[in-house]
């Protein structure tokens, strides 16, 4: 499903959260699709089930998945969240990162193109290719 960097200073459960968020946002994992069970993913990745659960709990609290006891964990549809705090937080992070990118000499035009491309591939994802 994906690879983890066991040597990274970034905790495994955080890496898991990132990777799964990406899969959801890129619609590799589709709405209401079932995720691997805690134990199955733990076995596949050779890590502890508790670590998977910690990641799933975080994903649930961020609104990306929902879990039903006895059934499994599933991708949350419509994450067009009205969570204002979350949006403010992302905007702030974005501001920091864009500022740094510009400071490092990355042209504004290049960043804008990045945004446009991502936006296009997102909206245009409905078509069959």
């Amino acid at each position: 499903m994906f690879e983890l960097d066991m040597r990274s200073r970034k905790p495994i459960y955080e890496q898991l959260v990132e990777k799964i968020k990406e899969l959801i946002m890129n619609e590799v994992l589709k709405a209401d699709e079932q995720l691997p069970s805690v134990r199955a993913l733990a076995t596949e990745l050779t890590i502890n089930p508790n670590t998977i659960q910690k990641a799933y709990r975080e994903l649930e609290s961020q609104g990306f998945i929902y879990s039903i006891k006895g059934k499994g964990s599933f991708v949350n549809p419509n994450n067009q969240t009205r969570d204002i705090e979350k949006i403010q937080s992302v905007k702030k992070d974005l501001e920091k990162l864009v500022l740094e990118a510009l400071y490092l000499g990355i042209p504004a035009q290049e960043i804008i193109k990045l945004v446009q491309d991502l936006d296009a591939s997102k909206g245009g994802g409905e078509s069959h290719d």
Copy 2:
């Protein structure tokens, strides 16, 4: 000089790195300007000198400051770095964050405006106002 959130899960030295980077990128701290000494800043913020030094070391490795033994730590000019790895890393982070922002429903247009505004305030910083 700034405030730290001692209750945050984010390490103090990382908060320091972020804050100082912002001050440098926003040209509050100007090229070759001297930073507070390790001990002075530690006293001012009521934290351990080792923590300050850890932050300064990180800032130096990221190319934002340079330190001279016996003299002090100073803001590095021309951080128009040719450090390709750093640039690639920032681009990747940017991609992740923009994707998340779009996914949360923030309009591409709003992100683009953010980039343009930051770029303008950066390039226009040369004038006297």
